[in-house]
């Protein structure tokens, strides 16, 4: 694990303009966005997921919890195309996505972060986020090479100086240039949103641990996902940072994203989620609001072990 620098909470303030990074959603809050339908996943003889069944509704923050090895990350991997379920289906916006390629699933509108941070280490923070933005851009390889697709620019997009300005007025500006600019602006805004814009131009590998975690979130947000899946975003955080993260997760929801979060830390999960699904040994053992789940004897047993007097 990279060295862990403790970052003061005040440094990580969101200074972004939310209007610029909010996404457009295509449905009403509360309707089913993703449906995990009786999914079973076997690796040889090992059953990683056994008939798991739950759905995610638009606009909510859903927690997916369970002890180590319960199949939470496997479930994520099935949803983002890394694994194909052995049985059952996963539907996103009423579309079957089990077995679809990961990049296609991303284009459909699901993004994720990784439990063990997987940034592009030699790219700057800004470039990492720009890779995410590119997922929504339309310029092709030939478009980059020849820049033949021109767009009539608005007044604000025109260059200030003379020759370039007249050139852009006559021939327009290539879509590539405009997308590149928009991507850069949006990426910067997202870095501000997660609170790490002060080190935007630093190579990802050199960022402190907390920054790397936030950068992963910014990169996932850049792909404009309707559903964002956070895999243990608070791993290795101190209580102050966890508090910060809870605020960030809520703000992500306010931008229009639906959030699925895997987490070990019960305090964080109970504090931030609307609903919780509990997995144990690849099976769903409980589902409900944080209060219901916290009272559920099966959940308590799974986390604390069976009480002696119950036997």
């Amino acid at each position: 694990m990279p060295e862990h620098e403790i970052v003061g909470a005040e440094e990580l303030k969101d200074t972004s303009d939310h209007d610029k990074i909010a996404i457009e959603t295509s449905g009403a809050v509360g309707e089913v966005l993703l449906e995990v339908d009786h999914v079973t996943l076997r690796f040889g003889g090992v059953v990683a997921l056994n008939d798991v069944n739950f759905d995610i509704r638009r606009g909510e923050i859903l927690g997916l919890i369970g002890p180590n090895g319960a199949g939470k990350t496997t479930c994520f991997n099935a949803m983002t195309g890394v694994y194909t379920p052995t049985e059952g289906t996963i539907r996103f916006k009423d579309q079957e996505i089990a077995g679809t390629k990961p990049h296609r699933i991303n284009h459909l509108g699901i993004a994720r972060t990784f439990q063990n941070i997987r940034l592009f280490p030699e790219m700057s923070a800004l470039e990492n986020v720009m890779v995410g933005c590119d997922a929504r851009h339309k310029t092709s390889v030939l478009g980059v090479l020849f820049r033949a697709y021109r767009v009539r620019p608005s007044e604000g997009e025109l260059p200030k100086s003379g020759i370039r300005r007249s050139f852009a007025k006559v021939f327009g500006i290539s879509r590539h240039t405009l997308e590149e600019r928009a991507g850069r602006r949006r990426s910067m805004e997202l870095l501000r949103f997660v609170g790490i814009a002060d080190r935007a131009h630093e190579v990802a590998r050199n960022l402190p641990y907390g920054y790397q975690r936030r950068l992963e979130i910014a990169r996932a947000l850049a792909t404009e996902p309707e559903l964002i899946c956070l895999d243990e975003p608070a791993a290795g955080f101190n209580p102050a940072e966890k508090e910060d993260l809870m605020g960030l997760i809520r703000r992500i929801r306010d931008l229009g994203h639906t959030v699925l979060v895997i987490e070990h830390d019960m305090k964080l999960v109970l504090g931030v989620t609307d609903r919780i699904v509990v997995l144990e040994f690849g099976q769903k053992i409980a589902e409900g609001t944080p209060e219901e789940v916290a009272r559920n004897p099966k959940v308590i047993a799974a986390y604390l072990g069976e009480p002696d007097d119950a036997a």
Partner: protein, 379 residues
């Protein structure tokens, strides 16, 4: 040796260049280009010592310059594949050969293909596809070959790709050698067409004697290719390649269509290789299979790796050194393989990231080294 390297590093040329004002960079670039165009007539001492024709046995200076630029074009194309996309292509000579053979097969009146067309469509014996039309044909042929080779093999990772491409380079040459009634077999094809141009002194503009014209033509194409390649590097495409190189699975989850971008890299590399081959074949006015031996593939890879994979300037330097030095020191010919091997080993030991490295590539190599050391420490 390492002291020399350290003092070179102390100059921080890359940083200074980046920090220089824009007008300075433009002027410097224009001066370099102007000097490059002037090179064939270079006659001012002491610079003239770089010429290769100082003694009577030396090679024609302008021809050497032409070859350098053709290899530079090929190296810039291969750099897209190896340096940008991180795919080891050991059969690049195959695309180079395809480019040369396309212009020969369709443009030469004595090629079996053109003769077949002549008799099929009742054309005169002088008829052949004009040179200008041969350019798109050559690019299309090598690009198609790149896609056909890439589509199944780019799903492989790492070493497998290198082995398959290695085979491809040989397949092209052996096919050209054995398909007697299409490619003329080992005898090759003569009368390869040259670019059109006004006649001067009773000779066509592009002829075998005035090599500097070929050099200028190649230089113009090189500048164009370098310009396009740097456009790719600093765009979403370059970022996608870099992301794939660093973590292919994470890139896929972030919406980067890995296979598509790798195939594009392959196709772009292939068509640039074809273009270089076309220039070579046209200048020689003669194409034969033995000109496309496998060692040329390795030479191209060596240019990219020694120069600095991923950095266009580095790759140009690599191509220049590996083409120019053997020509300049022809009298030491029998020492060539030895010197070549020694140079490779020295570069790999002292400067594994290449002579003019890409900063990112250098950092990646450094990372790998740390990972290997950690792994060794764990074991």
């Amino acid at each position: 040796m390492s002291q020399i390297l350290d003092s070179y590093r102390g100059l921080q040329l890359g940083n200074r260049w980046d920090r220089a004002p824009k007008w300075f960079r433009t002027v410097a670039l224009l001066l370099v280009v102007a000097f490059a165009f002037y090179l064939p007539f270079l006659n001012i001492l002491p610079f003239a010592y770089i010429r290769t024709d100082l003694n009577p046995t030396g090679s024609d200076w302008a021809s050497v310059l032409f070859l350098i630029v053709v290899y530079m074009i090929a190296a810039v194309g291969l750099n897209v594949v190896i340096g940008f996309a991180g795919l080891l292509d050991l059969g690049y000579v195959g695309f180079y050969a395809l480019g040369a053979y396309s212009v020969a097969l369709f443009g030469s009146p004595s090629s079996p293909v053109v003769q077949a067309l002549q008799s099929r469509f009742d054309l005169s014996e002088e008829w052949a596809v004009p040179f200008v039309m041969c350019i798109p044909i050559a690019i299309a042929m090598s690009l198609t070959a790149g896609v056909i080779l890439g589509a199944p093999t780019l799903r492989l990772r790492g070493d497998y790709l290198a082995i398959v491409t290695l085979g491809f380079g040989e397949i092209i040459r052996i096919t050209a050698r054995n398909l007697d009634n299409v490619t003329g077999g080992a005898a090759g094809i003569t009368q390869v067409p040259v670019p059109p141009g006004p006649e001067i002194d009773g000779r066509s503009f592009f002829n075998t004697i005035d090599a500097e014209r070929w050099y200028w033509l190649a230089l113009v194409i090189l500048i164009l290719i370098v310009w396009l390649a740097s456009r790719l590097e600093h765009s979403r495409v370059g970022r996608a390649w870099l992301a794939i190189r660093e973590d292919e699975d994470a890139a896929a989850v972030m919406g980067v269509a890995g296979f598509k971008f790798k195939l594009w890299a392959f196709a772009i590399g292939a068509s640039v290789g074809g273009l270089a081959g076309l220039l070579f074949g046209s200048k020689q006015q003669y194409v034969e299979p033995n000109a496309f031996m496998l060692n040329l593939s390795f030479l191209f890879v060596a240019m990219v790796v020694i120069g600095g994979s991923g950095n266009i300037v580095g790759v140009l330097v690599g191509a220049f050194l590996l083409t120019y030095l053997p020509e300049r020191f022809r009298e030491l010919q029998e020492w060539r393989p030895f010197a070549f091997g020694l140079a490779l080993v020295l570069v790999m030991v002292l400067r594994p990231q290449g002579l003019v490295p890409s900063r990112r590539r250098a950092a990646e190599i450094e990372d790998r080294r740390h990972e290997a050391e950690e792994a060794a420490a764990d074991a």
